[in-house]
Symmetry: C2
Subunit: 189 residues, 2 copies
């Protein structure tokens, strides 16, 4: 990949993380990347596409981290938990996701809202894949994989994000226990 392209992505990522999408100007990105503004438009057709590409590679990164956390020798239950934990740890610790989620909450920038929705959808699709695998292997009883993945994801948001808004946040240990107690018990054979 072109060196300039890399510089642009790096600069934009830094600026989006620091100031958010709306507050980042293309002039700013050009200056940080040490390129002319026109150059950006030879690689990306708009500011929005620049964001989309950055989030796309972030999605790949998250999936990769989740994949690494999975150990084929462990059970489906163990692995789905490990994957979800990685996904949500990423969300909570990466500057870019933190800033973008904040921007959706506070300003509701449509481009950012859309891209974060896609992130959620892709995470659910990822989990669905793991569920389908486990179903094929007969590790779990038959179920609607999309619906199950959706519920797992929503439950993780509830435990990781929503609960903490009005109570003492839960430890990862506790979240794992609860997830197992409430959701996975229903799937076991």
């Amino acid at each position: 990949m072109s060196e300039k392209r890399k510089q642009i992505i790096e600069a934009a990522t830094k600026s989006f993380s620091l100031f958010g999408y709306k507050a980042t100007t293309m002039d700013q990105v050009a200056k940080m990347a040490n390129v002319g503004k026109g150059t950006i438009y030879t690689f990306f057709k708009s500011k929005e596409e620049l964001l989309e590409e950055i989030v796309s590679s972030m999605i790949c990164e998250i999936k990769h981290e989740a994949d690494v956390a999975i150990d084929q020798r462990l059970s489906f239950k163990e692995n789905v938990q490990r994957a979800l934990q990685r996904i949500f740890t990423f969300r909570k610790e990466h500057e870019l996701t933190i800033k973008l989620l904040q921007e959706v909450r506070d300003i509701g920038t449509p481009a950012v809202r859309d891209v974060m929705k896609r992130l959620d959808r892709e995470m659910i699709a990822y989990i669905r894949g793991k569920i389908e695998e486990a179903m094929t292997k007969g590790e779990i009883r038959s179920c609607d994989p999309e619906l199950t993945a959706f519920l797992m994801f929503k439950m993780y948001i509830a435990l990781n994000v929503d609960w903490g808004k009005e109570h003492e946040p839960l430890s990862q240990q506790k979240i794992a226990e609860l997830f197992d107690l409430y959701l996975l018990k229903g799937l076991s054979r």
Copy 2:
């Protein structure tokens, strides 16, 4: 209770339902209630308190409807489902809740946001009560009642509201099945 007070509450409820909280003026309420504006302030110290009182009685109404749906001869599982179903049917069908939830989404009026948060908290508290009852009776295994009620509520929102945003909405029948399969299995003895 004073006749005028009733008229005011009735008028405000109608106007909030029709136009939302923000778009309702106190002059409007006074006119609809056939009272002078000053009269409103002999019963309610502010517009916000008027909303709060209306929502408070709505909360009572919802709890009552849920109570009516409960049948002591049935199991905890049956009853908690019936109660939750009533709570969410109310949310989906009552003009006032529809309008206020819409207003929070679209405008984010702080007073409305606060009052709807309280509604959620009170519904969770209600469910917690039922869980504590069932635990005392030994109908379900021991668990953190607040956390369990919170998860039940979040799961019902996920199934009733969130799923429908990107998929074909689920029937009440299907929701009941899923709730049983995923959440209640973990609580049974």
